[in-house]
Subunit: 347 residues, 2 copies
Amino acid sequence: MSEKLAIFAEGLFTAPNGKTAHGVIRYGTRDVVAVIDSTETGRTAVEVVPFALHPVPIVATLAEAIELGATALLIGVAPTGGKLDPAWRAVLFEAIGAGLHVEAGLHTQLSEDAELRRAATRAGVALRDLRAAPADLTVPKGPFTRPDAVKVVHSVGSDTVIGKKVVTLELDRAARDRGLRSVYVPTGQTGVAIAGWGIAVDHVISDYVAGAGERLVLEGAERGDLLFVEGQGGLFHPAYSGVTLGLLHGSAPDLLVLVHKAGATALRNYPGLPIPPLAELIAAYESVARPVRPTRVAAIALNTADLPSDDEARAAIAAAEAETGLVADDVVRFGAQRVLDAVLGAL
Amino acid sequence: MSEKLAIFAEGLFTAPNGKTAHGVIRYGTRDVVAVIDSTETGRTAVEVVPFALHPVPIVATLAEAIELGATALLIGVAPTGGKLDPAWRAVLFEAIGAGLHVEAGLHTQLSEDAELRRAATRAGVALRDLRAAPADLTVPKGPFTRPDAVKVVHSVGSDTVIGKKVVTLELDRAARDRGLRSVYVPTGQTGVAIAGWGIAVDHVISDYVAGAGERLVLEGAERGDLLFVEGQGGLFHPAYSGVTLGLLHGSAPDLLVLVHKAGATALRNYPGLPIPPLAELIAAYESVARPVRPTRVAAIALNTADLPSDDEARAAIAAAEAETGLVADDVVRFGAQRVLDAVLGAL
């Protein structure tokens, strides 16, 4: 019997923090039978989050999700800081008691919680920590250790929660559709939930974050020769810049795709901090990468989700192109072909 | 009875990786009764490593160190990657069996090793992991959260193992000698061993490395109002740049001191990667910090240890000053006063 997933996103399914739920519904290969969010019941996932694409029913309780056949429960929200919200413990114990496997991509490791572990052992179910780091990580060998034939494209961004993962997935899919041996390389908990492999590099000790990036590239190189490596954080993000730079230097990309949310002028979680202009961001990413392994931004992936009309979106894309001299497009709204063409043309 | 420390540095006391031993002997407040390194016996620490300053006897075995009164054993080497060398396990068990506390600043946590833990419990001794991360870390509140009266000076560098910690300690000491309420803020395992507080930020999960930097500044602000925050890694170091940038953005310094080893042209552990010229390094650190909290390099701390004569050292310092237009000096060789003057003048 293949696994049937219920995704817990109480009160947050429509919020940006619901991105784990959205990504797993849209891109995952497992059957999602229900989203649990009592504030959005009676509708389906795609009705309240069009990005999710699929009409997964939204229910109020775990019991209803079990009636729909759920055999595993995934925590589908990614809170800032990544801790387990104590309010979620009840549903975890309820799920374990009902015989469901439990899966989360938090910094809080379910399997390190003695009570959860006892309950899971008693119930014979698994606790899966998507963000667990491999035990044998270390520092990287260096930025020129992969085979020359393997090309690495890394999605970097101007902020968090603006769609770096989505851009990476869409570029990979479009490349595979063209018959290329392309691979999506997951670097975060949602990507691991979607792809079934990868490392959540933000849970790795900071000394090994570049080592994790290098390992992911070498593992990706066993799966294909055009690697789209998901980015994390942002170079000027006061909390996550260390993850960003470690992953950039560790994955040592040949090309970058810069992801930006149209109209965003300040950081989501630090509204006092402005986002620099795109041209400055491009120069900053290129110059901070250069001494380790030179790279350049090949295209802009603009997230225009906040712009209601396609005309406004096209105007924002044209403005980004004029500002940077690069191809820009919204790969979700208008498809990944133009950005992919720019990437392949620059390789 | 106050603690008496034996420092284990077998085969490595005179190597750069022996920096934990050197720092604890030179700057620590605990009594060091012996260094264990069978390749350097019969001499004292200061004879083979003048930087260490103190005539601590070097012995071949733990038994000799115990005869000299050792009540605790510190692993005094910092291997690249930070793992426990399996060859060191025997002396750890021997020390535990003899009733010594055991202390290490490795990524390998002694207290997570079931065998060591069993032995320590049986012997009634402590296993101390200097690199253990606080359990309640999270992301930072932001770069402007400290009191305005608190000034932060951060030592950044062109590479690892070139003396960022030493520069930080010397500047702090010189400032305290002038009657300032100065604090050395330890960010690595040796600093924690020396000062008895702090966080080894490179062992923190990468998502929290900036949060650790902010917390250290806020803790330092309870101890004084001029904080010298030890730097880690290097902005263009392919393994550790994530630690560097996270700590830079998290500690959000008012000023930087750039530490460089005179004559070094490539990274120690990655000899294929050149170190950019000082002027480029200065511009890079300042521009990558700016969007989060502007800062600038106030002075160059040049490590001239590889230059035999003071005249050569002075010429290298003059060249660094000419290249950068900043005050440069070797704070170990010639004292910290000129660099400290430049820092205080720029605050």
